[in-house]
Every structure is written in structure tokens, then in C-alpha cells.
């Protein structure tokens, strides 16, 4: 947890450097958009996204300005908007998908973007098991083969029916999408070690310079989109992603107009920013200000480590956790308690209701006695502050990513709740890269704070499919695509997986699905491989001093999460403030 302060100092220097450079190359502040980055770019000269688990090689501007997705899911309308592709069709069984690419798309070095690039990039993901990025792993699990039909048409043959294939892999459904790389640059390189530096893309911006705490992208002279009439050139001449280093410095930078869009802050900080700089806005004009994030927060449990390999012990923890206290303290009332593993979007209501009606919904308040009764039934006895059994104290280490106050404070609250109930819980704050790179995928934890059931926004499978038995690997091996990092196994998990597989082949809107969801959920409820906590809310301050056209509830062209791959749309919507 030391990093925020070091980073704060670093980012001040970085900013001086960044603005110095901006002056040197004559890009005025009013032509520059500065986005906030919440993590350190450990290796700024490596753009091989296939090997990137913490996402930082993409979210420091690469997939927002340089690499473009095939489609973008519009959160407002629920539609899949074509970008580099123009359409996708499947056969009736959803086992074969044909994608059509847009004509006239070119890489920034002038080469044409075509089916060869798509086939090559998908092939790289299929053939190299060591490429660990979630998007590559997910595609590897789904696709049997890929072939070029003509220059602008690609056909995928899947292992199993998947009606959501395109939105899941190529549509920026949540944060990322599978990114197509230029074959003419990558061919002949080892995809596991190639650094792809300097990088090129199809987008309107190109890489200018980078360091561990910032990355600068400059507008190109021409872009295929403007040439073909797809879209006008975006207005900003330069886009900077700058590591601000924590809530305090992020707030100060917003107040002094040195940042145009900031990462999540607490509501108190947001109110303070707005009081000092009335040009700063958020998703809503008024309380609660924050936009709902599709990744609900949860407590991930490693089901292979005693005593948490016992479902009753996990259920006990679930009883002890008080979600409403997390909402009130860690989020200061800006979010709500989770009832199920799902994001509480209107589009998810049928599935959430089915689970709640079947009696598997989670209460907002705790039932400490029920939890303690379960612990005592397992042979633990309370000895002073903590439970003990055979001379051993009931204790747990909870790993938490130290990148945000939101994460650490949630775990502080949970630690306190467990302590009071007689479990010697401790928070283990870990740096972002270590957390995503070493702790979570390899099961090197007892419990951890995560959002790994994230996935579903309008159907249940994307989330539920992440906890099936086919993804179980031993501790010390990498969980494929961060799926089932809880390593949940056994009879109940198998029964659950069978029902989830049944759901996976069904089309969107199939009436039997909510019933199946409830049926599968009984196993999750009985075994608790993870404990849903609260819905995530992101309070993102956006500055209208230099730029207007930010996404808000009133101007809902897409979600405001500017570290996602759909940020192309945000940048295209920005207009110079008058």
C-alpha cells in the first residue's frame, strides 16, 4: 500500500515532464485530452497484449486510441455497433460464425487491414497456450478453426454452440475485446516474447512516447474512418494517459484542470472537487453521481485450502458479512448490496428474480449467530477473541489489490466484521500487477477481493460459465482466463456445470433460461465458492473546462468507463469547450 504516495510524487514529476513535452511539440493544452491511469505501466515498451494479465498494456491508451475493436456494444441501446467489421452471421446451431470486415480500413503504415490479419491473430491465440490474456484464453476455449473466405470475410467454426460468440469476444462487452494485430508486422515473430515496439494500429492516433507513468498518443494526419466517410477525424490533437497516483492527487489535478477525466473517487472527494471547480461533472448531475459498473464485487475463496475447503465454513463467512455496512462505509451510500452474482441491470432482472424467488438471494444484513452456529457445528470453539480447534486459531488472509481506496476499504470493513465474529482476518494489500499476475490466477490466496464473476450484462451465461469444473486447475497453475480461480470442484460443482452447459447453447430470450439459472444457482448457494458483496459504482469526475461531450446519463451514447475499448466513441464525441 506504499505505492499511492510514491506514485503521487512520481506523477507530479511525470506531469511536469508530460506538459513540458507537450510544449516542446507545440500541442496546446486545449487541444489535449488527459485521462487518468490508475496503475503503473511496468513495461512501457511492450505492446504484446497477449501476455498481459493486468491489462495495463492496453488501457494506457493503446486500445482506446490506436487499436480498434471489430464491434462495440452500446450499453445504452444494447446494440452491437459495427466498427472494423460490418456484420456477423451464424448458422442455426450457432456453431459457425461468419464475420464481414469493413472495406477501406488501413493500418497506420498504409497496409490494408483484411481477413489475413484476423485469421493470423486468431491463429496465434489458438496455437499458443502460453498466451495468458483472458481474451486469448477465452477464444482458445471456444474456436475449433478459423478460415479466410475472401479478403473481407472470415469464418469461425466453434467447439460448441455459442449464440453470444461475437459480442463476447469482439464486442467490448466488458472492458476489452479480442484485438486484431497486423500480420505483416507480427509474422515470423514468437508471439510469446515479441514486444511489438513501436506499435501500430488502425486508429486515428499513433504512439508518441511512453514512460512508466504516462503514455502520449498523437493524432495522425489521416485515418481510414475519415477517408471512407465512416466518421470524422476526432478533435483532440493529443491524448495523454497519466498516472495520477491516488485520490488526493487525482482530485487536485481535476481542480486545477490538469486532468480531463479521473478514475473513481469517493463521493466526499467528488463533492469537494465540484465545490472548487464547478466545471467538473459526473454520470448523474446529482446524488449518487456514480455510474453502475457491470462487475459486481465479491469475496473469492480458494476452495482447496482448509478450513475454507468446507462449504459450511464458506457459508458461515457469507452469513457474517454485512453488505449494507460495506455500502455505507466503503461506498458512502453510492451503491447497493448484491442479491446474486449478477450485475443488477434492468436487463438482468429476469435471472436475478428467478434466483431470488427460488430462495437463493442474499440478504443485505448479516446474521452473525447463524454464521457462528455453522462454525461451531464444524467443531470450532470460541476461546477469547477467536475460534480455535486442536490448538489452531481460525484465521484468514484476504488479498486485496491496493490500487484503489474502494477495494481496500471494502476489505477493511469485512476484516472488521470477521474479527468481531471470532475469525482472525487480516488484509494483505498487494500491488496491482502482483495481484492480477501472481495472486489470483495461480490460487495463491485464501480469500481475495475480486469481481471475477463479471461478464453478464443481458444474459446469465457469461458470468455463470466462469465457475464450471472444466476450468479447474491445481493451485500453482494458471486458471484459464481467470475462470474458476476458486477451483471449485466436486459433485455440486459438476451438477452446476452440467446445467450451465445446458444454458450456454440456448439463444438470447429463451424462456426456459431463468428456470435453469435458478436450478444451477442452488449449488452456488449451497457451496459458496465466492461470496457476492455489493454492486460496483464508479464515480468518475469529468472536466468540461477544455472538452465537452462526455458520456452522462443525459448523453448516453455509451458507458463512461474510459479505460475500456469503447473509449474511441468517447474521444470521437469530445468537442472543444467554447
Amino acid at each position: 500500500m506504499r505505492t499511492p504516495i510514491l506514485r503521487a510524487a512520481a506523477s507530479v514529476i511525470a506531469f511536469a515532464a508530460a506538459s513540458g513535452m507537450a510544449l516542446a511539440q507545440d500541442v496546446a493544452r486545449e487541444d489535449t485530452v488527459i485521462f487518468d491511469l490508475d496503475r503503473t505501466i511496468q513495461d512501457p515498451e511492450n505492446f504484446n497484449w497477449f501476455t498481459d494479465n493486468s491489462g495495463v498494456k492496453r488501457i494506457s491508451g493503446a486500445h482506446q486510441t490506436m487499436w480498434e475493436p471489430l464491434f462495440i456494444l452500446n450499453y445504452g441501446t444494447g446494440e452491437l455497433e459495427p466498427w472494423l467489421a460490418t456484420g456477423a452471421e451464424s448458422n442455426d446451431e450457432f456453431t459457425e460464425w461468419t464475420l464481414t470486415l469493413r472495406e477501406g480500413v488501413t493500418w497506420s503504415d498504409g497496409e490494408a487491414f483484411n481477413a489475413d490479419d484476423v485469421v493470423y491473430t486468431v491463429g496465434v491465440a489458438l496455437e499458443n497456450d502460453e498466451l495468458s490474456a483472458r481474451e486469448a484464453a477465452a477464444l482458445r476455449g471456444q474456436v475449433a478453426s478459423v478460415e479466410k473466405v475472401d479478403d473481407l470475410t472470415v469464418r469461425f467454426t466453434l467447439n460448441a454452440p455459442n449464440p453470444r460468440f461475437v459480442v463476447e469476444n469482439f464486442g467490448v462487452r466488458i472492458a476489452n475485446s479480442f484485438l486484431i494485430m497486423p500480420e505483416h508486422v507480427w509474422a515470423g515473430e514468437d508471439p510469446a516474447t515479441f514486444t511489438f515496439f513501436p506499435p501500430i494500429g488502425t486508429g486515428p492516433y499513433e504512439y508518441s512516447s511512453g514512460a512508466t507513468n504516462r503514455m502520449i498518443w498523437d493524432k495522425r494526419d489521416s485515418w481510414w474512418g475519415a477517408d471512407t466517410g465512416f466518421m470524422d477525424m476526432p478533435e483532440p490533437a493529443r491524448v495523454i494517459f497519466l498516472e495520477s497516483g491516488g485520490e488526493e492527487s487525482r482530485a487536485q489535478l481535476m481542480v486545477s484542470n490538469q486532468l480531463d477525466a479521473a478514475q473513481n473517487v469517493t463521493i466526499g472527494t467528488f463533492e469537494a472537487i465540484q465545490a472548487q471547480n464547478p466545471n467538473v461533472i459526473a454520470w448523474y448531475d446529482d446524488y449518487p453521481f456514480a455510474a453502475a459498473d457491470p462487475c459486481a464485487r465479491q469475496l473469492e475463496i480458494n476452495t482447496t485450502i482448509a478450513p475454507w475447503d468446507n462449504a459450511n465454513m464458506r457459508k458461515a463467512v457469507a452469513h457474517i458479512i454485512d453488505r449494507s455496512q460495506i455500502v455505507n462505509i466503503a461506498y458512502e451510500g453510492t451503491t447497493e448490496a448484491s442479491q446474486t452474482m449478477f450485475a443488477q441491470y434492468g436487463s438482468m432482472d429476469p435471472f436475478i428474480n428467478a434466483v431470488v424467488d427460488a430462495g437463493y438471494g442474499l440478504p443485505a444484513r448479516s446474521d452473525v449467530e447463524a454464521g457462528q452456529a455453522l462454525i461451531e457445528a464444524e467443531g470450532w470453539t470460541r476461546d477469547g477473541d477467536y475460534y480455535t480447534k486442536d490448538g489452531e486459531t481460525l484465521s484468514v488472509n484476504i488479498h486485496v489489490n491496493s490500487a484503489s481506496t474502494e477495494y481496500t476499504r471494502t476489505i477493511d470493513v469485512i476484516v472488521e466484521q470477521l474479527q468481531r465474529a471470532g475469525i482472525d482476518a487480516r488484509a494483505v494489500p498487494v500491488e496491482n500487477g502482483v495481484f492480477w499476475g501472481e495472486v489470483l490466477p495461480f490460487g495463491a490466496y485464501e480469500m481475495s477481493y475480486s469481481w471475477l464473476s463479471c461478464g453478464s450484462v443481458n444474459e446469465p451465461w457469461a458470468s455463470m460459465g466462469r465457475y464450471t469444473v472444466k476450468d479447474v486447475v491445481p493451485v500453482g497453475e494458471r486458471s484459464p482466463g481467470f475462470n474458476n480461480t476458486a477451483r471449485w470442484d466436486g459433485a455440486a460443482a459438476e451438477a452446476y456445470s452440467a446445467i450451465v452447459d445446458e444454458i450456454s447453447g440456448r439463444a438470447l430470450g429463451d424462456e426456459a433460461v431463468p428456470g435453469l439459472v435458478a436450478e444451477a444457482y442452488q449449488h452456488l448457494d449451497a457451496e459458496m465458492p465466492f461470496i457476492p458483496l455489493v454492486q460496483a459504482a464508479k464515480l468518475l469526475p469529468m472536466n468540461t473546462t477544455y472538452w465537452t461531450g462526455w458520456p452522462t446519463a443525459d448523453n448516453y451514447y455509451n458507458s463512461p468507463f474510459f479505460w475500456w475499448g469503447h473509449t474511441h466513441q468517447i474521444i470521437h464525441n469530445l468537442e472543444k469547450a467554447q
Binding site: R2, E271, R409, A427
Partner: protein, 310 residues
């Protein structure tokens, strides 16, 4: 003299008399008394506070969030209430409880670390100075090398590796970095003292090395050691607070440094939650002023020439 018996004392004479009284009892030094008073005040705050106030309020979620001290308003126009007279922080902890528990904890780390560090320093310093030869070379080189290493750098790495540490653990780690200066200084003192008559006398009369070192020489160094001890308490507290402010101290045990860390981390400055970082900072200031006064006072006690004559 007889003629003067009836005459009231002149101002100069009064001053003289006062001065003599002061020389009579050098320990009644006002700086020393003030310093000791301030530190005892903090210890008393911890002892009495625990009885009169609810120590459970130091835990997350035990109080409303961000309430100001009594008599002030926060940005949301909430007024301070007597249930939480010094206000509360952003995690729902009571500031009064935090300082009742946290301030003695911070002092404890400093005292323990320098007690251990000084003991090591005394032992090594005496050994080096008195025994000389190889022992001296080894200890001197070791101390010289350690003196050049910036302690915070090493401690940051250590603490990160250990994860959640206890107060005692932290004190032990810091103690590993406060023994070098006392070692060097005591060695120098011992070297000069070794030539003095009473030491040579003791040697001639066959006293053991341990006896000479700790029974003959040590008592003469006591005032000096005291001063050195207080200086190393200050260093230890600065180091401990430095680590805590970086978020590397114990996590669930309140300390002043950790409170400041959490305030900075949660944006307390921009939200104008001055009590959150201000009160612990004030207490740290009091602690350092207390230590400084004790140090100055001890100087005057052991060195009469420093005492003011008026």
C-alpha cells in the same frame, strides 16, 4: 556580614541565590521538566483514556463517517457532536479513540526500538573501544557500513515482505538501524576513558573486563547515554512514522502515522477533513517537542556550562 543581615538582598544577590539553588539541584531543569511532562501527558492520555473512553471506537465502522470536532462544521454542513468530540474519519473511526490508542503506540515503538538499539550500541561500543584489535576493526567496519545505508529504504523492503507486522516486530526492525551511531560515539568515549587513572587502576588490580566495562566505566557515561538515548528515540519515531505514513505499519493497530496515511489516501486534504490528519500531526509535534526539550534539559544537567546564569 553582620551589617548586611538586616539589609534586603539586592537584585544581583537574589539572582545569585537562585543560581546557587539551581546548581544545587540540576535535575529541576525547566526544559527537562516540560519535556518529561509532555511525554507523560501522552502516556497519561493513553492510560486514562482507555478507562474513560471506549477503545472499541478505533475500529472501522464503529462511528458515523467524517464528522467534524465539536464546534465545527464539515463540507456537508454536519456539526460535531459530543459523542465524538474530536470528530471521526472516513472509515467511521473516532479520532479521540484513535489518538488515545495510537499516540502511546507510536511512542512505544520509538522507546522499544531505541532501547534495543542502545543496548546493542552500548555493548558493541564498549567491546570495540575496550578490547580493541580485531574486535574493534570488525565492529567499526560494520557500524561504518551500516551508517551509510539509508534505513527507510531497507525497511520499506522488509515491511513489504513481511506484510502485516506487529508493533514489536516493527520496533525490532527499526532497532536494527539505530545502533550504529551510539556504537561509534561510545567507542570514542571509551577509548579516551581507557587512559584514565581509575581504569588503569582497576586493570592493575585484576578486575575482569566485564567489571571494568560495565561497573567502572558505564556509570560515568550515564548522562551522556541518556542524551544519546533520547536522540535515538526521536530517530526511531521518525522512522516508524515514516513507514506508517507509507502504509507499511501494522494495519489493524492504530498508530498516528497510519491515521495520517489513511487520511492522505482517502483525499482528506481536498475534502477539508483537517481534523483527520491535523490532530495526529499535532500530537506528533507535541511528542517531538517533548523529546527535544528533554534532550536540551539533559544537556544542561550534564554540562553545567550550558546553564544560563541569569
Amino acid at each position: 556580614m553582620t551589617s548586611q543581615d538586616h539589609v534586603p538582598m539586592t537584585r544581583a544577590e537574589k539572582r545569585q541565590a537562585k543560581r546557587i539553588r539551581r546548581f544545587d539541584n540540576p535535575w529541576m531543569n525547566p526544559k527537562l521538566l516540560w519535556g518529561v511532562g509532555l511525554l507523560l501527558g501522552i502516556i497519561a492520555l493513553g492510560l486514562i483514556g482507555r478507562v474513560l473512553w471506549d477503545p472499541e471506537l478505533v475500529f472501522t465502522g464503529s462511528a458515523p463517517l467524517k464528522l467534524p470536532p465539536v464546534g465545527f462544521e464539515n463540507l456537508r454542513r454536519q456539526e460535531g457532536i459530543w459523542d465524538y468530540p474530536l470528530g471521526t474519519d472516513g472509515g467511521g473511526r473516532d479520532l479521540l479513540a484513535l489518538i488515545i490508542i495510537g499516540a502511546p503506540n507510536t511512542l512505544f515503538v520509538g522507546l522499544l526500538a531505541s532501547l534495543i538499539g542502545m543496548s546493542i550500541g552500548i555493548f558493541l561500543g564498549f567491546s570495540a573501544g575496550f578490547l580493541g584489535g580485531r574486535t574493534d576493526d570488525t565492529i567499526r567496519v560494520l557500524a561504518d557500513v551500516m551508517i551509510t545505508i539509508p534505513p527507510l529504504l531497507i525497511l520499506v523492503v522488509f515491511q513489504s515482505a513481511f506484510g502485516d507486522v506487529t508493533l514489536t516486530m516493527m520496533a525490532l526492525l527499526i532497532a536494527g538501524f539505530v545502533w550504529q551511531s551510539p556504537t561509534r560515539l561510545i567507542r570514542a568515549q571509551v577509548l579516551s576513558m581507557k587512559q584514565s587513572g581509575y581504569v588503569q587502576m582497576a586493570q592493575l588490580s585484576g578486575a575482569s573486563t566485564g567489571h571494568i566495562m560495565f561497573r567502572e566505566m558505564l556509570p560515568n557515561l550515564v548522562p551522556y547515554l541518556f542524551g544519546s538515548f533520547i536522540a535515538s528515540v526521536t530517530t526511531s519515531i521518525v522512522t516508524a512514522v515514516g513507514l506508517e505514513v507509507l502504509g507499511l505499519g501494522p494495519q489493524r493497530i492504530p498508530t498516528l502515522g497510519r491515521t495520517i496515511y489513511e487520511a492522505i489516501n482517502a483525499g482528506a486534504l481536498i475534502q477539508n477533513l483537517w481534523w483527520w490528519w491535523g490532530i495526529p500531526t499535532l500530537l506528533l509535534a507535541v511528542m517531538f517537542i517533548g523529546l527535544l526539550l528533554i534532550n536540551l534539559g539533559l544537556d544542561e544537567v550534564s554540562n553545567p556550562r550550558l546553564r544560563k546564569l541569569s
